[in-house]
Symmetry: D2
Subunit: 347 residues, 4 copies
Amino acid sequence: MNFASDNGGPVHPKVLEALAAANDGYAMGYGNDPLTAEVVQGIRDLFEAPEAAVYLVGLGTAGNVLALSSLVQPYDTAFCTPMAHINVDECNAPEFYTSGAKLTLVPGTDVMTPEALRAAIAAEGTRGVHGPQRGAVSLTTVTEEGNVYALERLQALCDVAKGFGLPVHLDGARFANACVALGCTPAEMSWKRGVDVAVFGGTKNGLMGVEAVILFDPKKAREFELRRKRGAQLYSKHRYLAAQMKAYLDGDLWKDLATRANRQGAALRAGIEAAGLEVVNATQANMVFFRATGAQHRALKAGGAVYHIYGAEPAGDDGMAIGRLVCDWSMSDAAVAQFLSMLRDVA
Amino acid sequence: MNFASDNGGPVHPKVLEALAAANDGYAMGYGNDPLTAEVVQGIRDLFEAPEAAVYLVGLGTAGNVLALSSLVQPYDTAFCTPMAHINVDECNAPEFYTSGAKLTLVPGTDVMTPEALRAAIAAEGTRGVHGPQRGAVSLTTVTEEGNVYALERLQALCDVAKGFGLPVHLDGARFANACVALGCTPAEMSWKRGVDVAVFGGTKNGLMGVEAVILFDPKKAREFELRRKRGAQLYSKHRYLAAQMKAYLDGDLWKDLATRANRQGAALRAGIEAAGLEVVNATQANMVFFRATGAQHRALKAGGAVYHIYGAEPAGDDGMAIGRLVCDWSMSDAAVAQFLSMLRDVA
Amino acid sequence: MNFASDNGGPVHPKVLEALAAANDGYAMGYGNDPLTAEVVQGIRDLFEAPEAAVYLVGLGTAGNVLALSSLVQPYDTAFCTPMAHINVDECNAPEFYTSGAKLTLVPGTDVMTPEALRAAIAAEGTRGVHGPQRGAVSLTTVTEEGNVYALERLQALCDVAKGFGLPVHLDGARFANACVALGCTPAEMSWKRGVDVAVFGGTKNGLMGVEAVILFDPKKAREFELRRKRGAQLYSKHRYLAAQMKAYLDGDLWKDLATRANRQGAALRAGIEAAGLEVVNATQANMVFFRATGAQHRALKAGGAVYHIYGAEPAGDDGMAIGRLVCDWSMSDAAVAQFLSMLRDVA
Amino acid sequence: MNFASDNGGPVHPKVLEALAAANDGYAMGYGNDPLTAEVVQGIRDLFEAPEAAVYLVGLGTAGNVLALSSLVQPYDTAFCTPMAHINVDECNAPEFYTSGAKLTLVPGTDVMTPEALRAAIAAEGTRGVHGPQRGAVSLTTVTEEGNVYALERLQALCDVAKGFGLPVHLDGARFANACVALGCTPAEMSWKRGVDVAVFGGTKNGLMGVEAVILFDPKKAREFELRRKRGAQLYSKHRYLAAQMKAYLDGDLWKDLATRANRQGAALRAGIEAAGLEVVNATQANMVFFRATGAQHRALKAGGAVYHIYGAEPAGDDGMAIGRLVCDWSMSDAAVAQFLSMLRDVA
């Protein structure tokens, strides 16, 4: 019953098989191997983006901050939500990789509205050289609080950005889960909406550690390659990144794994509501947030459920707090059933 | 016959086995897993450094630049050779991670002398706040040109650094090969000589991609942890880095692999000299540099030998050029024999 | 009737006299001249801080960002108000000089409350290495919206910072105006409250361009000197900065000039209120904010009043907007009277 | 007899007069004043560059590093001599402002040869993404060791840069002295040779502290403005920078002052040679380097001559060392005569 994070579970067996299959003889380093060429083409095909520049990196942070650094100048600011991972959970990596660009927090909740984005961009551009310059918009879906942007909303947000001439970055930590939740294609969730650079994350969805950064317009490809090397993110034994991504693409494993995770998320939501507890946010993917008392949380954890309290700890036995449950691809029916059984007991 | 680089070969089967063994159930992310704790302790034991702070990263560049950034301030300079990897092959990653510190190139060849180091440090400290400040000394062994520092030389270089109050960083790309070549312990090649921060590289020696950064004085441990996260080098699924390092430590696999690579290097050297060609540098480890004509190089490559010309390309058929041969752990006797056979034919 | 900014007026004649007096023969550069030594001591005396390290720079931005860079690490965040000059009006200079540290905006108005500061700091420290680290608190008085912190409030804010072990930076753009408004000594408004680094600004108060950065604890003096040089803020002909500061200190010219500016601010406030218009904020120094209709603002500007609309422009003739009036030391009684006369006409 | 530096002397009286003349009433800040517009046009006229973007800053370091930062990317390197001020005397300010770009030192003396430059650029571009990228060439004339590039040499160096597609920066610390030494126009010494960005220095030539950065191609003008602000180099009371530059331009004061300084340099050279001592370098401007024994240097300094030993201090009484004499615009005939008289005595 480990719901702590979708980076806590094992990698899918096919990934290990792919690593073993790739482990044969010599290969050129730094991405100049045939397997890398194959997965680059595979991602272009998947995203219906034959011109896209595609790069693999080993961590989500790296993918996102390299992507941002190719979109904003040091005197710019990128617009994101206050809860965005790049704001709260990267220990200033975005500021580091962009040589000191800023993040402007679009007021509101975890879900950005086009109106709030428009107002934030408008407000940021009124002081000439004195203020930070408008640089880019950074979106995340599934959001940190488990929400999935409808395609119309995504379109509307990109439209606002484009109205100001700003490029859009899509953080890809749970790209697959959002895509599956929407039942759309990767292209429909990215460049067809107006996304300029997307990260197609694999690490939280069954890979060992690979993310693909996709520049739909390849004119910054060379700059990206240099920033990747300078950022200490260019792997010499690159074929092992490519092998993981190949397993992810083959037979749409990415979709299969996200579907599994989302299904367990749905089961948890249904079960929690059936038990009479409150589910927070209209989450549609693999994360579930629920409100319970301190005593209830303690009982669940004592029973073996592993998960994080989101936000403030409960004040005493009766104080309420939000639990965050994250399902990875390997979450078993048994674990979900056991958790819900415990929950019914404590409810 | 692939001698292009020791990052071109496969990973050792035990590494894949260790990854599979680690792929069981849930684990805490970001290094908070038992396997990581185990290999941290394993490295402390191997280095006879019970107080050391030990961190795993996935690339050699990352290990070295994070190490440097914990030793030098942005207004400092680090002393290295002109051929040092951090100078010529990292696309300004050291400058990036140190927020703009400088490298001062100690004049001379690939092998630093204590006299040249002393003179370079002395010269750099004469302009008060106007000049770059003396920050650290960065050494590499095996060097880029295949040389291994004798322990006495390493001691002398560290002594010079310490004479100026400067810490010493040891680039660890081929730490194991140097250690085996010297027949010494890791401790004897690092902190017992005066090294403050060492990188114990595994990527070039049979791992998929893991390096250990070892801070013998742990007082900068927390700073390093923050710089690692900010540098986008903290892996969420950290157990897979730890698993590789565990395989590397178990039964001294690191030593076994380096021994194999060095032995093939020795065989190549002996064979090249026996064939009447000139071996350049008194290399003792897994890299061999040899001088041949353009025609000879072309014939060898036409015969299937893969390797890089080091420095300038040969001018025509008769012009001389240096070939660089690097043996990884998996280099076979057959490949070495075949290469030497061809060499005898063209010599 | 120029109320656009207190950097728009002339420098005080004594400053020009001091420059001329200093313009005699040769002097050592970079602050190694007797005049600089004299004003450093003068500032120590004025601030009752015999141990303080004191540095002169030529711009307020430079003073503040160098001060910040000596207090926060690149993985830290500094706490300030959303309206703080370092947040909205420095085009990412703080992020640049700190090598990518962040600013965390303390929710609320232009005036920080201890409660909001405590909550913001508490919230920022809950994610281990993943979040930005708590670095420093940056305060400004007179604030951007013309408010002056009472000494008790300043004390309370510093106490909160100190409760978390954080140093406090005091932005000094209008230090003199605040000090005069409070009727306190510079020491009472700085280190006696808990300020660690203060900027004693002169540029907005009659100098040509000089600010003194005061490190009450000199242990970071050398680091500051190196950051100043690296930041391209160490003036070779330093005596001309010192000369200006000497004029500023002599006979407490700084106090005289701020008193003049504040008095005109008070006259404006009184006159605006007497005319029946609303004065916004309980401003006590040299800035006045007043609410008027678009038609009224237009009439005032047509009549020759120069000032900025603060925030949104008025919507049409009847829409309300806030005008910002800033008095510099040279603001004449006649100009104030003329403005108020016009105001009475349009009111 | 102060020959320590040309930043040690007084500013020219006309500069103070210009400051006083500018000190009248209100002016828009940050360069939006009529005086700034006037001197921008004046510099365009002087440089025969009607399209150029021109910016004033208060220090030479600032001008040079902002110029460089507009020419090189963080993953680039700029080529300069080992003795270049940006390499040895700026405490990593170039690395700071360029977000971590590198300097590649063109081997040789203080005077760069086209052959050495070509070889250095060629060598730097052979490692793909692994090496620093070729960014720009930075030249200085008068060089640090007092040499002046002939126009043909300047042309040849720029031609080499252009052959590689690289822009050229001209450090302007002693631009006027070089220009006067060559008897050419500013245009002939800059864009007509191939210089892309020049700094027209005034600080070492009689101003209090003003340098003009001239972007002959204005396409990076906006970027420069943002980098200037972000670099904390945009002065609010900008008219006082403009006033100094106006005095400098009026009646070609810049040329008059440099002529004076150069003439004293020539007098020193002639006198030293006449006294039988060795003049080092074929200096043609306001700096003179001469070789003397430790005893001779001591005698000269005891007699009141102020100057720096260049390079190593003399070893004892008989050891030789090089003295560096710098003449500023205000250097008197009497001082030169007195120095030479002493020199004849000690020779």
